[in-house]
């Protein structure tokens, strides 16, 4: 590979259009004759609809149409859930895109107005009269499981969407009955609201004369949108084109295909003109999927010298009022199977109850199940250390899976690919000067200052994943990726990929892969994605899979090109193929580097095809479908240093040091950016963010004013380091990095705060660790109420 391209922190090619205002996001696109849709959403968390009067709205200025559930019946199928979790008694409630007779969360759609302008559409929403009969609501997952609570879906008993278990290794009961030490905790993984900066939007343009439909959508996975739209709306896939234009972040909230998307398409189909819907931010808080919302009862069994012998957990996972597209797999497959963490744990058992609640549907949110797993494990390990009076470093070392290069089985059934967990921790301790920090902490305590150090040593599963596994775990799609690499006569390259990055920078990193594999300049490579008419099938960007899976497809397509080019070069140089050699874009006869052809020479000759070898097709192009043999497992070790002010409860995050291992880094600057952003989202969960409902199901954190997002002035510079352990099964050795920071950081910050508060007797505080909560926990621990 060319040393100047692969591994180099070159500037992103995405940026010139983004820094000049020339990028087009969905809401930036206007079509001739386009109308605007606005959605009337339920103000009640649970209510029967006794009647809807749209007469006045229909007469309002600029209004073209008003539709209710009755109008869409038969034309829009229920929004599908596409992760049919097996062996879990999965019960999928019908998710009507426009409510029929009952609304089940604040934000459930009741009607749609289509008007000439967005302002007119919003005006008309106020004129729709809905006769609601409010019903009792339930918002907390554990309460939803209790007897006598309001039931969301009559046919689904006890609000239970599923009950999933994972059991692995030795007898879990025995592990606990024979344990010398047991530690326990109840953790609330609070509800989070993803807050991609670009609100969701859909623009649908249906042409009645041809039956063709084009949809611009803020999505992480346009091919899945096409597939599901064809099923729900009934436009055949060959006439349905989905375009993800510039997409302003997703973090999991743009995986699902939403009722609003189907409704916008329905309106365009019905009216025969383009229709655009754009959510407001407040609407985004109500109706775009949320994340987390677990109640976790966890316990760890161990020997007196700190060797873990078993882990047991029960999780109540709030799913919201309906199951979103990928929702059932998040608190189960992507969570429960990761409970061994970086440790040798001989017995694991977890029960997960997925529960319907009168809240916004819960989906993947950056990390998606793995942050919740990492938090559990890293919390338990710290509790064990505290109980045994050992340093958290020491307990981790006593339980780490030893270094491995090519596969390690854990009892949950996964085979980790490669890892050196102690190596990452050692690097972290060195870079952070951990021993010195401990000494400073002890000194500070003498002076009445409460400094805390928090560790998180994590491994995560990403690069989703083998399609055979996808089928076995009920994911209603494949998980391979495909790529087309096409050389033009002038030697310039087009790359078409099925997966769809939305801010991560793969237009740049993928050009670097091609440059590395084929010796062309990255500037000569255009990466095309996000348009189902112009790209091969792909399953999308989530689960840190685009570089791990899509990048592998691309590398293998490039290698096919190289093989074909070598045959053509041999022919042109009148040499035998086996006598040919290749280096950095040049094909030459072994031992005679002067007798050579560049890849650009070959591209021209293959495209004009005047003189091709016998049996070799014209053109220089390759397509690859890459189905990974296994997942990839990035890992690392993070340290947070905090100081807590006991008088105010304020947590000051003083330092954050990260060591991450995602294998070889194609562009280290982009990797670092992913690490920064990921860590800050996890810090947000630990310290500030929480989606709060009152008991009636009203979302109290319904605007950016009420939901505390991380801000620039509340954060320290993050110190980023790495180790490099290639994945043994990946063509480039690379692992994903998009979610690692979030997976690690919440536990690190939480552990640091608890460490700081230990002298005050505080053992647990529910997240987010706001000054009020911390202060109250100190008062309670000190016996002051």
């Amino acid at each position: 590979m060319s040393a100047t391209t692969f591994g180099s922190g070159i500037r992103r090619r995405e940026d010139p259009r983004l820094i000049t205002g020339n990028a087009s996001y969905t809401d930036d696109i206007t079509l001739p004759g386009m109308l605007h849709a606005a959605l009337l959403r339920s103000p009640y968390a649970h209510a029967r609809i006794n009647g809807i009067d749209t007469a006045q709205a229909s007469e309002a200025p600029g209004v073209v149409a008003v539709y209710t559930g009755a109008d869409t019946e038969g034309d829009i199928a229920p929004a599908p859930c596409a992760w049919l979790l097996p062996d879990s008694d999965l019960k999928i409630a019908e998710y009507h895109c426009v409510a029929k007779d009952t609304v089940r969360y604040v934000g459930d759609i009741v009607a749609v107005v289509v008007a000439e302008s967005r302002y007119q559409a919003y005006d008309a929403l106020d004129l729709i009269d809905v006769d609601y009969e409010p019903l009792d609501a339930v918002v907390e997952p554990k309460k939803a499981a209790a007897d006598g609570t309001p039931q969301l879906h009559g046919e689904i008993e006890g609000n239970q969407a599923f009950h999933w278990t994972v059991t692995g290794g030795g007898d879990i009961g025995e592990a606990f009955s024979q344990a010398e030490v047991v530690v326990k905790e109840t953790i609330v993984q609070q509800r989070l609201i993803p807050n991609a900066m670009e609100p969701r939007a859909t623009l649908a343009s249906y042409i009645p004369a041809t039956g063709e439909l084009t949809v611009w959508n803020t999505t992480q996975n346009p091919h899945i949108v096409r597939f599901l739209c064809s099923l729900v709306i009934g436009v055949p896939e060959d006439r349905l084109r989905v375009i993800a234009p510039e997409v302003g972040g997703g973090f999991g909230s743009k995986i699902a295909v939403y009722p609003a998307d189907f409704i916008t398409i329905f309106c365009s189909k019905k009216l025969g003109v383009p229709v655009k819907w754009v959510e407001s931010r407040s609407e985004n808080y109500q109706a775009t999927t949320h994340g987390r919302d677990h109640v976790q009862e966890i316990e760890l069994a161990a020997t007196a010298d700190g060797k873990i012998t078993g882990l047991r957990a029960t999780v109540w996972a709030g799913m919201g009022a309906y199951l979103s597209t990928a929702a059932p797999g998040i608190p189960t497959i992507l969570h429960g199977l990761m409970l061994s963490g970086v440790y040798d744990i001989p017995a694991i058992h977890e029960d997960v109850y997925g529960l319907y609640t009168n809240t916004t549907p819960v989906e993947a949110y950056r990390g998606a199940g793995r942050p919740e797993a990492t938090f559990m494990v890293e919390r338990l390990v710290d509790l064990l250390a505290a109980k045994l009076g050992l340093d958290p470093v020491e307990v981790r070392r006593r339980n780490f899976i030893p270094k491995f290069d090519n596969g390690h089985d854990v009892v949950t059934g996964l085979t980790y690919d490669s890892g050196n967990y102690d190596g990452a921790l050692n690097k972290l301790l060195g870079e952070s000067n951990y021993e010195q920090l401990r000494a400073e902490q002890a000194e500070a305590r003498k002076n009445g200052r409460y400094i805390g150090l928090g560790l998180s040593t994590y491994v995560e599963i990403c690069g989703l994943g083998p399609s055979q596994v996808a089928g076995a775990i009920g994911f209603q799609g494949g998980l391979w990726e495909s790529a087309i690499v096409r050389f033009h006569p002038s030697g310039k390259v087009h790359v078409m990929i099925g997966t769809s990055p939305h801010g991560q920078g793969e237009e740049t990193t993928f050009a670097q892969i091609i440059a590395g594999e084929l010796g062309v300049s990255p500037d000569d490579v255009k990466v095309i994605h996000g348009d189902t008419d112009n790209t091969p099938m792909g399953w999308g960007t989530y689960g840190s899979r685009t570089t791990a899976v899509g990048g592998a497809a691309l590398a293998l397509a490039a290698r096919k090109i190289r093989d074909k080019a070598k045959v053509i070069a041999a022919h042109l140089l009148e040499a035998a193929v086996e006598d040919m050699d290749y280096d950095d874009g040049k094909f030459f006869v072994k031992g005679s580097p002067d007798s050579s052809k560049t890849i650009q020479d070959i591209a021209l000759m293959a495209n004009v095809a005047w003189n091709m070898p016998e049996g070799v097709e014209a053109g220089l192009e390759a397509t690859t479908f890459y189905d990974p043999p296994n997942f990839v497992f990035p890992y690392g070790a993070h340290l947070a240093v905090v100081e807590v002010d006991p008088d105010s409860g304020n947590v000051d995050l003083k330092r954050y040091v990260a060591v991450d291992d995602c294998g070889p880094q194609i562009n280290p600057v982009i990797v670092e950016g992913q690490v920064h952003g990921g860590i800050v989202q996890g810090i947000g969960q630990a310290l500030w963010e929480e989606g709060v409902y009152d008991d009636d199901g009203q979302l109290l954190t319904g605007t950016m004013l009420d939901y505390a997002l991380p801000r620039a002035d509340r954060l320290p510079d993050i110190e980023v380091h790495s180790t490099v352990t290639p994945s043994p099964h990946h063509p480039l050795g690379v692992k994903g990095i998009g979610e690692a920071g979030t997976i690690a950081s919440t536990a690190a910050v939480y552990n640091a705060v608890i460490d700081a508060l230990a002298p005050l007797g505080v053992e647990a505080v529910n997240m987010p660790l706001t000054p009020e909560r911390v202060w109250r926990s100190i008062q309670a621990a000190q016996g002051r109420n």
């Binding site: 820094i19 993803p194 900066m197 931010r281």
Partner: protein, 159 residues
């Protein structure tokens, strides 16, 4: 009811009839079609819609178009000098100060204001100065680096 307004945007005058309730950001995006300025919230928290109003930064979602009558507005499209990027744009590119790019126009315009008021800000001053602009991708660190880098360039120092 509509009201005539005359607003100069990026050096060009636009005479339009607008509803009194029309927000400046919607005037910019929907009436004259400059979509570089973004809308990220509806409570004036996110700062994605930040523009310069008579040279001073303003969140264009908190201002009515009629209030900008007679004013001169600069949006992200007007920041570069012909084809030459503004030092802030260069620095955001050089220091990886953006990922999805959605907050970026507002972030750059807010940074422009920051440097107008303080040509040599410390990292802490930059963090404080940008607290009214939300970014969900970068964790802000490279934005701080970008602004610092631009400050050095604009002062004629080395970056």
């Amino acid at each position: 009811m509509t009201i005539p307004v005359s607003i100069t945007v990026n050096g060009r005058r636009y005479d339009r009839e607008v509803e009194p309730r029309l927000l400046l950001v919607h005037f910019i995006r929907d009436v004259i079609g400059l979509t570089g300025t973004k809308v990220g919230c509806d409570t004036s928290q996110c700062g994605s819609c930040t523009v310069l109003l008579d040279g001073v930064s303003a969140k264009a979602c908190t201002c009515l178009a009629v209030q900008a009558d007679g004013a001169s507005v600069t949006t992200i499209e007007g920041l570069a000098d012909d084809s030459e990027l503004h030092p802030l744009q260069e620095s955001f590119w050089n220091k990886h100060g953006l990922q999805c790019g959605y907050c970026t126009p507002g972030m750059i315009m807010a940074s422009h204001e920051l440097l107008r008021c303080n040509s040599d800000p410390s990292a802490e001053e930059i963090r404080h100065g940008l607290e009214g602009n939300m970014c969900r991708c970068t964790g802000y660190q490279n934005i701080v680096r970008s602004v610092r880098d631009a400050a050095e360039t604009m002062q004629g120092g080395t970056s």
